[in-house]
Amino acid sequence: MQKDRPLAVFDTRREVDFVIIGSGASGGVLAKQLSTAGFEVVVLEQGPYRRAKDFSHDELGVFIQGEMTSHPLWEDRQTFRHTRQEKAVVHSQGPAPALYARGVGGSSVHFTANYWRMRPLDFKERSLLGEISGTGFADWPLSYEELEPYYTRVDWEIGVSGAPGPFDAPRSKPFPVPPLPVKSSGVLLEKGAKKLGLHAQPAPMAILSKPHNNRPACLHCGFCMGFGCEANAKSSTLAAMIPLAEATGRCEIRPLSTVFKIETNQAGRVSEVAYFDAEGAPQAQKAKAVIVAANGGETPRLLLMSESSRHPDGLANGSGLVGKYLMANGHSAAYAFFDEPLNEHKSVQVTRIIHDFYENDPQRGFYGGGGIDARAFIQASPILFAQNGLPPDAPRWGKAHKDMLRRNFTRRMMLLASTTSLAQESNNITLDPEHKDGAGRPAMRITYRDHDDDLAMMKFMQDRSMELLEAAGANTTWREPVVPETVLAHLLGTCRMGADPASSVVDPYHRSHEVPNLFICDGSSLVTSGRGQPTMTIQALAFRAAEHIAGFARRGEI
């Protein structure tokens, strides 16, 4: 179905209906929705156009070298610090502080594909719980009920496997395909949960358990997290949306296009998007409207880079909130060995989750909520397992090390807790004042330290995870201390939506408060962090935004 060349090719001087910056979880949905609605769309994607045939099981290339994420050849350095009092340090090794994938389909290509819906409470928690001082804790300008039809579209159009759990929010339609087959880790999580009076439920995953929408079912090869799917069974926008967008003949995906400025005209409207093409030459694509969907790190970076005399603090930044309120979700883990082989390297990362601790509980003494899943994580990757998979007191080399690797590669299990992050102004994306990337753009500077409540929630969930592993019959358990996050795989909240231009960047339909033909729709739109699996919500927002934006365009309201 996919063609080797783009079906639509637009001249950069032609004023197309929409330029979408970013082809990931949200950009891919917007491109498909707007092109099938009859609009001309150019998608500018900074990464290459890889297809299923280009993906591999090459752990060294994909993980160690960071082929899709932080390969040095990208020359797109980031700097990181915990607080503004510190000097931000240039990232040089290991996963980048703002971790996302470059390429058509964006991070939906390499993600683990956990697809939790948010619940009604997530959208109005500020009203339910009251103010949390020193934070930007706020209600959303929309409700679960308003978003539910779009969650259902994600289930069916993107392709989500699952079955309802005991605490799930109401859904208008069942899952399109059943849960993926349970793995040994799921069986053990369920066993531990039963002993403790908790409830393990099938994990909703954006990986097909059965053929759906002309895409095949998962082959259980085990290379999901961090890898692209060779079978097109993972429901990335590369597999599920982009081919439909291209098939309209109205959508051009333009890879290796690194945007450096959104240009505005005398009327204060966006006129064109300036970018470096694959050869590094500057280009500019004219458009009637622009949608920024570059992720919660790159979106604010680009808006801040797009300053002008009319917009001295960056585009769409009248509120001063572009880049602020960065939320990454908290994470804590617990590990175990079991007597018999689990073979976690086979099949998808997660098959069972626990949502008993989803809601805030005042008795805990701190704000927060989250979920626990049994996942393979680095267990699916032999090199990372050998480097980091054994308990901290295990021998790191020699005969005893070899024996431990040999015995435990197949017998290790991990529980990962994902938790809330409170919105704090002090956590943000800014332009680094000193460092630039290879294209001369200011480096992304990340300032991030989890709120004390976030850290307490992570610790609470780690304690529960340890109890679950013991209850499941582990012969060895261990954990690492909970510390502030330094690798942020979820980039949320940095252009938050709201009705009030003074306290938000976009309105409830993702239109920037200041520039009528500029829309922003990705993880940056989220007002709260949810409980740790944001992509489902990002895409529901994108389906909803596309519907409204198409309506505005048809009615001449852009």
Partner: protein
Amino acid sequence: MKNSVSGRRRFLVESGKLAGGGWLALNAPMLLAAGHHAAEQQAAHGAWVNISEDEAAGFAAVVDQVIPPDDLPGASEAGAVYFIDNVLGGFLAALAPLLRQGLQDIDRRARDVSAGASGFAALPFDQQTAILQTIEDTPFFENMIFLTHCGLFALPSWGGNTDKAGWKLLGFENLHAWQPPFGYYDAQLLAGEGDHAEG
């Protein structure tokens, strides 16, 4: 032996695998050209492309301390030194000076222990272990552990993991399709014998 190894390496170079190009081939012609240049340089050399015979012997001794031979191959037999030779001409070229210094350092320590020894590789296994215990936390040895793991467990197309010896050690198989049951506990469940089925 030497011929078959260099034949295999020539195949890897020509197929572009040895350079570890991967995504470079997709959309970035300039970068791809740079990668090919490096690969041609490698193809012009013999069995060891980026390291000397002595260095190869030193690396072999160290990687066999990290993963020693027993009933399954040690790291050198599993191709870890070929892997190191490859990546020192590729994406880990910047590591070469540190590793060379490290090898010289353990050779010096070996001669301190045993005056007649030509170097670290010539010492008995237990004496090598004792020397490495004294430098366990150095960047050199940290990197050697990392390189040993990579040389054992990366795709064989990187030059190591000969006959998938590393994966056999772990019980890992690189297949493109599996079917349930995947492990003992889900098999038990499927068979209706598990705690889950009883409870």
